[in-house]
Symmetry: C2
Subunit: 348 residues, 2 copies
Amino acid sequence: MAVKSAGIREVAELAGVSVTTVSHVLNDTPHTRVADETRERVRRAAKTLGYGPNRAAQALRTNRSGLIGLLSEEIATTPHAGRIILGAQNAAREHDLTLVIINTEREANGASHRDDVQALIDRQVDAVLYATMYHRRVSLPPNLQSLPTVLIDSTDRAGIVPAVVPDEVGGAVAAVSHLVEAGHRRIGFLNNDDDVPATHGRFEGYRRVLEEHGIPFDPALVASAPSETLPGHELAREMLSMPDRPTALFCYNDRMAMGAYRAAMELGLSIPDDLSIVGFDNQELIAANLFPGLTTVALPHYEMGVWAVETLVRLLHGEADHRVLADEPTLLDCPLVIRGSVTAPRTH
Amino acid sequence: MAVKSAGIREVAELAGVSVTTVSHVLNDTPHTRVADETRERVRRAAKTLGYGPNRAAQALRTNRSGLIGLLSEEIATTPHAGRIILGAQNAAREHDLTLVIINTEREANGASHRDDVQALIDRQVDAVLYATMYHRRVSLPPNLQSLPTVLIDSTDRAGIVPAVVPDEVGGAVAAVSHLVEAGHRRIGFLNNDDDVPATHGRFEGYRRVLEEHGIPFDPALVASAPSETLPGHELAREMLSMPDRPTALFCYNDRMAMGAYRAAMELGLSIPDDLSIVGFDNQELIAANLFPGLTTVALPHYEMGVWAVETLVRLLHGEADHRVLADEPTLLDCPLVIRGSVTAPRTH
């Protein structure tokens, strides 16, 4: 099936230059004098003939493979991994790098993570992106230390690898501010009960907005459970059955919000007229398909993918100091996505 | 940050053999006589020192890069792409191949698809997987002809590239049979209105089951609309308001089923006691989070990824004939996933 592709000789012939000149131009060999016009002619000839650089030869010569390894968790269960991959890939393409992907198990023991890293080392990747599927702290396999690495959606327990994570506090501030600006003052918060950064960060954002607006904190308006639909449903039923029920709910994620929708319906509360709801995650399959559409907060997966590749490139070029970067994780914005689940509270 | 890794000399020293022997063993050079025990010792030494083959040198020597390109659509919007990637990656690892991924735009013009293929050619991939995110017919970019290729979830208009697709008819047969076996005879079908293989295949499966069980086909029980939640809601409201309403609905996909759930609730029909529902796609975020969980049909994305890589490997090794494979797309099973939305109809 394979077709013989054009060689460097054909390119030289079409451009009317020597093979050496073609090689210098296409490999950007430093300290060679070739007129801009000639360079342009060579590049055009190479493009016309579909002649590309021999990557394997290039890799041997430069000791750079042009490959970036992406170790990604749970690529098959959420669209989050897809958005990280898309962002990383688009940024990689800008720098003529190619993404090599290995799926790694979340609950894997250290040995299996080491094997995944070894596979990338064998493949001679220039650097590694290590992406987790929810924001948390991780201990990295020891063999990863031999490669420039950036963490996506997690921070390094040892504090030596640069990381990019969502600004959980800022996202919660955006969500709760939106409710306060619509006129709500009794705002319930259905939180996750896992000890992860998002649980603490979103709670901090919730409290911060109340405080800024002089709204007293009421512990009866905060409840926690596993961040799934059924627990969200139960918490919402309880909270909405209180005599002085909240007029709005901020939910830890869209799945809990989906449970809250169901609870509202069972209690005869119409969304948004009787109850406003804001979620978190912007899981399109849920948020865009609920009635009415769920106003929620988006996680910056695409943007984290882009940031991670840009940062690796700067590290590889010596344009960034990884110790400075590793000092504090970089926070990216979690923007509000407005759909139809928030309006002003009814005046009693 | 990079650490100098062990070289072939260190491996030879640890194993107590010559550098040439190490090279023969690790490269599986044909026609070389090395005792099994020595081979084992060399491999153990290489593993101990973390010495891997130099892939770039190997690629130059063998004219094989060990890379498989995956052109994938809409990697960022559904978990389907993730499952294809996971299947392809697990199979690739079995054969010591690495997956290189490029996201391609669904609505892209021919030129941009050609550029995506060119990027893979430049990267010297050995073969290409071309994955679409829903089952349809495609015209392939002309430069793809220079590489062994397998299509995932689509078929080639020109009929020259092997393809693997879901068995749409079989999936619908499984879904509707499940309803008939539960005792239903008035089964509505909310279909998609796009002219794609899934629309026709799922309708064929629906009709086939009715026929097999001697249930007369009633055109009033089939309706079509765009395959989204809102149109599903509208179709279900209409059909469930008929005097002789169906006792069960088979929905083209989980999004339409989600709309049908809402319609049932509005009409005071309890699922599954008053109405049984089966979906298609097994979009976990919807199917597992509805009340009750949605019984649905799974698409074989993971399995198609595995099949595609295994087939490429057989093509590369000359163990399969691509003309025979290209003759008819290979169909993979769409199995039923049972949750809580089906029971026997109430006896009137």
